[in-house]
Symmetry: C2
Subunit: 214 residues, 2 copies
């Protein structure tokens, strides 16, 4: 039951899947770890090591069949199960996430938005995701088989919303709120910090600036 | 001028900085790489290796002074330069990013939103970021010394907006649009794929489900 696969590995599997999607769309049938690494700025031994966790996915002398590896990665990542997702908070961030094209493309079903504001409840996102009263979370989570909740409410109400999500029996939470939230041990809580991506650009600009001086 | 520091390292430096912020807020004065690793589920040799790139930041027998290391990391990441950011697109995602608290906390200045819709231009985000006509990008980028642009427009217009950003002389771009965009070699383009975080939850749920069967 306990997973030996780190979150960093899982993140890399997602990246490999993205690359394979691109190759597949371009009509490429097979690819070696070396070519994959060169084309997408990855590390070939790392690719082989990551994929070796899941048995013999490659074919000697060929590398990987793109469609096969895609299907296997989707299975490993649980993407063939069409998991249902609820977005907590129908503000700008919640509405943006509800209609984020990548979620649908990868087979997630954004089933519902939840909010507590009367003029939001009963409305829907531009793509048609219905907004429900957060009081109905437990009932709708059960009815729609929602297994992942995305926290997109302000920090001040984030912990209270997480507690409601946990009480509704949802075991996986993706948190976009900037604070440190608590959940029981049997609930997987993953924090997304958008600042990290901005900081790597800042680092790049700082290096460029100091390079100019030398 | 060319950086030997990988993007993965930069991302980890950002994570270390988050941890140090928490320790500092809790009144902790010094911390060893071992304690840092244990407390935040990191890897101690990796921490030492990452920080060693930047000279002797630790003190023998003490570890790292929290405030000192924080200041040094902020300097390394270029966060003491108060970089100005423009958000391209004043839809739900753009407005959410303009008011995202983490950006401000880490010293980024969200100077402007840009859109081409007449009823958006002249308005502002809830936190007061002004929305300008995208035609004014070059002028305002120069006036406000904007050095980073965040792409938060639909895929169909993303490349055209990137081209305008490049033409305005902005050298660092953070892209939230799901497609593959092109920029010249002297422009750093970083893609954020929000699906990756959702997929690691999906993987966790898939493992739990298969664990239940054994």
């Amino acid at each position: 039951m306990s997973s030996q696969i780190s979150e960093a590995t899982t993140n890399r599997l997602s990246v490999y899947l993205r690359c394979l999607n691109e190759l597949d769309a371009a009509g490429v049938r097979a690819v070696s770890s070396k070519t994959l690494a060169e084309q997408f700025d990855l590390n070939a031994p790392q690719i082989r090591k990551d994929l070796a966790h899941f048995g013999e996915l490659g074919v000697r002398g060929v590398g990987y069949y793109v469609k096969d590896l895609k299907r296997q990665l989707r299975h490993i990542l649980g993407l063939d199960r069409h998991l249902k997702v609820a977005i907590m908070g129908a503000g700008n961030l919640g509405l943006a996430l509800a209609d984020y094209p990548g979620f649908r493309q990868e087979g997630f079903g954004i089933a519902a938005l939840f909010d507590n504001l009367r003029d939001k409840v009963g409305q829907q996102s531009r793509a048609g995701v219905p907004i429900y009263d957060i009081k109905e979370l437990r009932k709708i989570a059960r009815r729609d088989q929602i297994v992942i909740a995305v926290i997109a409410v302000p920090l001040s109400s984030a912990q209270a919303v997480v507690d409601k999500v946990v009480a509704a029996g949802i075991k996986a939470i993706l948190n976009f709120s900037p604070g440190a939230l608590r959940a029981p041990d049997d609930v997987k809580l993953k924090n997304v910090d958008l600042t990290v991506s901005l900081e790597s650009l800042s680092f790049y600009l700082a290096r460029e600036a100091s390079g100019d001086d030398t």
